[in-house]
């Protein structure tokens, strides 16, 4: 694959993050591997509770109590972040790796102006003076498409609309020219029209800044729009990992397959809206064998007993499933146009 020639920005190896609760150990992330290359966008997809946000917080070491990364390596520019002290991490957060959060209303501090909040990382990492930082903030606000930035810089989050707030969040994340951006469902709380604008903006800025992005979302439409490669997560593990095209055109894991067939379409006649039966399993009592088997239409006796491991089925297409061949056949039967339209 072409990526092999590019620099690896981040490599996550066998990451395990557990939450030690009173009721037992919740294995939120249980052995996740992926890598992000220079300038590329990796999509991390899955239902809520599958561990995608926890993966992001593990990378920045911002886990809330009682979460703890118990095993693995997070190699950022070939340095293991898990071995770094809090002091060293602080120099990386916001400067090398920045994060865009889901809900711009609650993720911005209501009692400080957005100018102050964006300037903060500039002051922390570059020791900029107030005046310098202010100039740079106005520049950034302009870049993210906020009109009259000289005025907006002194406004509080509640004075901005949802889309504007998310633009301010993006400006905040880009302030120090980070190598890697992590966006945790950045468009989920926005209107569809605003969503498209924000995605467009992120794409433009990523090119401009030549940053890599980990895009965390449950929205396949968003991921099709922006990601180069996709890792599908289920119950704390990656179940399918390949380039965007393959995910949409030839999914090999029943979960991915189910997600794709459950996208409602207006341009096709559908008798009913497909869905994946059942719910995400209780993280305290994961099923034996393959964790997806109770909800899987392809499940066999083997799936119930034995957990499959991640295997490279085709060139660069990694899947965790015993029934790959049957899924491939089934995926072929479903009309191609269906998924094609999602991608284009």
């Amino acid at each position: 694959m072409e990526n092999k020639n590019r620099d690896k920005v981040l490599e996550v190896k066998n990451l395990k993050t557990y939450f030690f609760t009173e009721d037992g150990i919740v294995k939120a992330v249980d052995g996740v591997d992926f890598e992000v290359y220079q300038g590329e966008t990796l999509g991390l997809v899955g239902e809520s509770g599958c561990g995608k946000s926890v993966t992001a917080f593990s990378i920045l070491k911002l886990l809330d109590y009682p979460g703890k990364t118990v095993e693995g390596q997070i190699l950022f520019k070939e340095d293991d972040l898990l071995k770094k002290s809090e002091e060293q991490m602080r120099k990386i957060r916001g400067k090398e790796i920045a994060m865009i959060f889901q809900e711009p209303m609650t993720s911005l501090n209501p009692v400080f102006t957005i100018g102050f909040q964006i300037a903060e990382s500039l002051k922390v990492h570059y020791k900029m003076s107030n005046l310098e930082a202010r100039k740079k903030v106005i520049e950034l606000l302009e870049k993210v498409g906020i009109p009259i930035p000289e005025q907006r810089v002194d406004e509080y989050p509640h004075q901005l609309s949802g889309g504007m707030r998310q633009r301010a969040m993006i400006a905040m994340a880009l302030a120090c020219d980070p190598v890697l951006l992590i966006a945790d469902e950045p468009t989920t709380s926005l209107d569809v029209t605003i969503q498209a604008q924000i995605l467009e903006l992120m794409k433009t800025l990523l090119k401009q800044f030549n940053s890599s992005l980990i895009m965390i979302t449950h929205d396949l439409g968003v991921i099709a729009e922006i990601a180069d490669r996709i890792a599908v997560m289920y119950a704390g593990k990656i179940v399918e990992y390949t380039d965007t095209r393959s995910i949409f055109f030839s999914p090999l894991h029943p979960y991915t397959f189910g997600l794709l067939t459950s996208i409602p379409r207006l341009d096709m006649e559908m008798e009913k809206l497909e869905s994946i039966p059942g719910v995400v399993p209780d993280p305290l009592h994961f099923p034996e064998g393959c964790k997806f088997h109770p909800r899987c239409g392809f499940a066999t006796e083997r799936c119930r007993k034995e957990e499959p491991s991640l295997l490279e089925i085709e060139n660069g297409h990694i899947v965790r499933c015993w029934q790959v061949d049957r899924v491939r056949e089934e995926a072929k039967k479903i009309a191609f146009t269906r998924r094609l339209a999602v991608v284009e």
Binding site: D64, R90, R93, S107, N109, V111, S121, H158
Partner: protein, 345 residues
């Protein structure tokens, strides 16, 4: 911001007018003769019907309600609040004479309560569930569950009755003699502790302080405990907010996260509570001053109420209502200072 303050200031006279109206309503429940009693310093006048009638006319006590109210307001503006039989001096003078003692007690209680209460609340939240947090919380719960009059009597019993360290009253007799009769002792602020320092009398300062410690502790323990609990829970809640994580994700150090990003937000509910608490302290003043025979407004109000000295009680009620209204104004303004969302257009 400025327009918000101006708007609040413009409403102030209206609220104060409402307050006086309510108090006058209560006042007019009394008969003209009873109301007259609040104006005369010599009770024998009341036995002479003609002299009494003359005074009733003079003070417009027999007028219809609206006219009576307006005359009463006029006399209020002239600071003529009647005669205090308990203090044996005009009500206004009685208030002004006792106000410094009470202010000294209240200010010395409020400042440590706010600073220490908030500080400990923040510490308690940051060290959530540590030994330090547990100790602070237990101390706070004890304070919160002890009524002022019981706690005050306990303090009096232990530190005066048994140990003899902290006497009741405001000054010892020898110090009183110097402070109130000596020409050389200048009264700059009428706060005895400060005046003593300004006069260079450390012995008097120490004596005044010894008298103040027990009432201050009594008055402030409950408020301190309350403020601490509010700050702690508000801080705990704030530390879980998304924007705290945003701040950390920017690489901001933990100290700035706690003392800047979190504390400013956590203080928003605390300001409201602190305002109410300070106003509630005025009630505590009556009990505390009575327990420690501390010659302030509260002690005077309690004895006038026992002696049906209406003039004093009304004067006291008016004063406290005014303080309450102004206190609320200060709370609202500090609220707007902290929370930009309150500064409505």
């Amino acid at each position: 911001m400025l327009s918000y303050i101006i708007r609040r200031l413009l409403i102030l006279p209206l609220i104060l007018l409402g307050v006086t109206f309510l108090i006058f309503c209560l006042f007019s429940l009394l008969s003209p003769m009873e109301r007259l009693a609040t104006y005369v310093n010599n009770p024998s006048v009341l036995k002479n019907p003609q002299a009494a009638q003359r005074l009733i006319d003079k003070y417009h006590l027999d007028d219809p309600f609206p006219a009576g109210y307006i005359h009463w307001l006029k006399s209020l503006l002239k600071l003529d609040l009647g005669w205090s039989a308990t203090a044996n001096q005009p009500v206004w003078e009685a208030i002004m004479q006792r106000l410094p003692a009470t202010m000294e007690l209240v200010l010395y209680s409020i400042i440590p309560v706010i600073l220490v209460g908030i500080w400990l609340g923040v510490i308690s939240a940051v060290h959530h569930n540590d030994l330090l947090d547990q100790t602070i919380r237990v101390t706070a719960i004890i304070g919160w569950s002890l009524p002022t009059f019981i706690f005050g009597l306990l303090i009096l019993f232990i530190f005066y009755g048994i140990l003899g360290w902290l006497p009741p009253g405001r000054l010892s007799t020898w110090a009183q003699y110097i402070v109130y009769t000596s020409e050389s002792f200048k009264h700059f602020t009428h706060f005895i502790t400060i005046d003593a320092l300004l006069n260079g009398r450390l012995d008097i300062f120490w004596d005044a302080l010894k008298h103040l410690i027990a009432p201050i502790i009594t008055l402030s323990y409950i408020s301190w405990a309350y403020l601490l609990r509010i700050t702690r829970s508000s801080m705990l809640e704030t530390l879980r907010k998304d924007y705290i994580r945003t701040a950390r994700a920017k690489g901001v150090d933990e100290k700035t996260v706690i003392y800047q990003h979190a504390r400013k937000n956590a203080l928003i509910p605390v300001v409201t509570v602190a305002g109410m608490m300070i106003i509630g302290m005025l009630g505590g003043v009556v009990i505390t001053e009575t327990v420690f025979t501390y010659p302030g407004l509260g002690f005077w109000a309690a004895s006038s109420a026992q002696q049906l000295d209406y003039g004093s009680v009304i004067g006291f009620a008016l004063l406290f209502a005014f303080i309450m209204v102004i206190g609320n104004l200060i709370v609202d303004i500090s609220y707007a200072l902290i929370d930009p969302r309150v500064r409505l257009e």
